[in-house]
Symmetry: C2
């Protein structure tokens, strides 16, 4: 395999000049640059990227941490983050943190070991204190991790309000409200607070079901819905509010118990990923704009990698309503 | 920040000795090793992993190429591959190739540039000739890429046979059969050949609908189902066979047109990801064992990275049937 010396010799220049062309640093005349590029082509020279990365102290890799890409919301997010970062010249290292207790910590440690240039984290498992120790580029998705770490999230309060208004307009009087775990501090709780506040104000009864922390698989949601019906006993509801998968599973159980959707029971899902559109009836949803969320997270991590710093930065994006056929009005 | 020299000085040994400990190469007495580890701890020394990777000519990263993790089958596969490789000490670089025409080629090139140690490819977009040029660790998922590249796939012929038998047992006489694109050479065609062969043998009419190459999003499947109904004209069918998402979309269209599933129309899906279990009725499926497929792909890439070679290696795994409520018998 050709070395940098071979290239220098063939082009009739010094190794330092070839290095300047490879690293795009310092002045090299156009004529010399062309000669070097010609020599590289003739010799089929492939620069050792690891060596170049070492020189630049950059790996060109951003770690992306999510609980699991098996959940459609995280799949959409990861897909869009990867596409955004690809356009900025970065590759992503994917970590599904659900598989191992200490995986999150291990990926954060890769920042220190120069394996990745930055981390975008969408997981809610590690102690905030661990993040505060790390003075490297980190962007948080939907979680507060300290004043140096920018947060990207949607306006969850607005999302909660929109969901409440739809169910009220549809005349719901008794609603099952699936809540995220209160074990972590996250902007997502705002939707639950706002939803509950409005319902209380309007005199609508809510049955709150708090989901377990960091569990996202279908098996768990099936269990939760079964558990819900056991706990409800004779209490009959006419409205459902929860994230896509649990809302769908609850709606299906209603249908299996021979009730009609939307005639007897209305349903509003939160997130609005494609799965709300592959079920019958399609589910009215509060949609998180995953493409724009990914864009903002990618922008922020690129800025941090390039040396910019932030204090208490929070980027908040709007949500939208996509009407399905689980509501009438 | 402490350097390797600082560590050597503090431990009272040479830099070479520290290097041997870091790289776990050559003899170092237990006593000396302890002294060095103690010095590293005291100085909070973090080895520069990039430099170590350069020394070992290993990055510890495997690139995983799929069309997009937004498709549940690929999400399951990626999730499981990542978990398997994590246990073997590898991280994964994820590439969704649907975003850019030349992304696949760029990731293959990273093998040459020592950014990744191996590639597991589950995409069907690049010319086979490109793969033949690369003499590096590559494992193909569901595709023939040359004799040096091991293939992991399920027994698609068996899958086609099982699907055909279920629909026959349910008395179907006119079946819509969604086929994968014939633009690429893949083991998956075997399920279509076997399915069509059995149906012909049994005198059952099939309407074959060939799906576009490398299109996997819901929008496309919605279009395809609409296009199918336009083309069918007055031809009425009583059975559906296709991959999860398109089978579900077709079933939903049947329901929207006021037919009953499974009474009027039966449905069998191929892949059997979780989405076949979140729709009503849940879809009878031929299930690909994504966990085992991931395990085999991970095992093979690790072996190749460690220097093993293969000729015409093909690992074939069995499929299973998961009965849903879209069939009766």
């Amino acid at each position: 395999m050709a070395s940098i010396k071979d290239v220098a010799q063939k082009a009739g220049v010094g190794v330092g000049t070839v290095s300047r062309v490879l690293n795009n640093s310092g002045y090299v005349s156009d004529e010399t640059r062309e000669k070097i590029e010609e020599a590289m082509k003739n010799l089929q020279y492939t620069p050792n990227e690891l060596a170049r990365n070492l020189y630049h102290k950059k790996s060109g890799i951003i770690a992306v941490l999510v609980p699991t890409v098996e959940i459609p919301f995280f799949a959409e997010l990861v897909h869009n983050i990867e596409a955004e970062l690809y356009n900025e010249g970065f590759k992503i290292m994917l970590c599904n943190t659900d598989k191992a207790h200490n995986a999150e910590l291990e990926y954060l440690d890769m920042l220190n070991r120069h394996i990745v240039d930055g981390v975008i984290t969408g997981v809610h498992s590690l102690d905030v204190e661990e993040y505060k120790k790390i003075k490297k580029p980190i962007v948080a998705f939907d979680r507060y991790l300290g004043e140096d770490i920018p947060v990207v999230a949607v306006d969850h309060k607005e999302g909660g309000r929109l969901a409440a208004e739809i169910l009220l307009k549809n005349g719901c009087k008794k609603i099952v409200h699936f809540r995220g775990s209160t074990a972590v501090e996250s902007p997502y709780h705002e939707r639950h607070f706002e939803f509950a506040r409005i319902m209380k104000e309007q005199g609508v009864e809510c049955f709150d079901y708090e989901l377990a922390w960091n569990k996202f698989d279908l098996e768990y949601y099936k269990y939760a819905v079964k558990d819900l019906f056991d706990r409800l006993d004779e209490w009959e509801f006419d409205g459902i509010f929860g994230t896509d998968l649990v809302a769908i599973e609850c709606m299906n159980e209603v249908i299996r118990r021979h009730k009609k959707v939307p005639k007897d029971v209305k349903c509003v899902a939160y997130d609005g990923t494609y799965i709300t559109q592959i079920v019958e009836p399609s589910v009215t949803s509060i949609v998180q704009p995953t493409k724009e969320l990914a864009k903002e997270a990618a922008r922020l991590i690129c800025e941090l990698v390039n040396g910019k710093t932030y204090k208490n930065e929070k980027v908040t994006l709007g949500v939208s309503v996509r009407k399905g056929r689980t509501t009438i009005e």
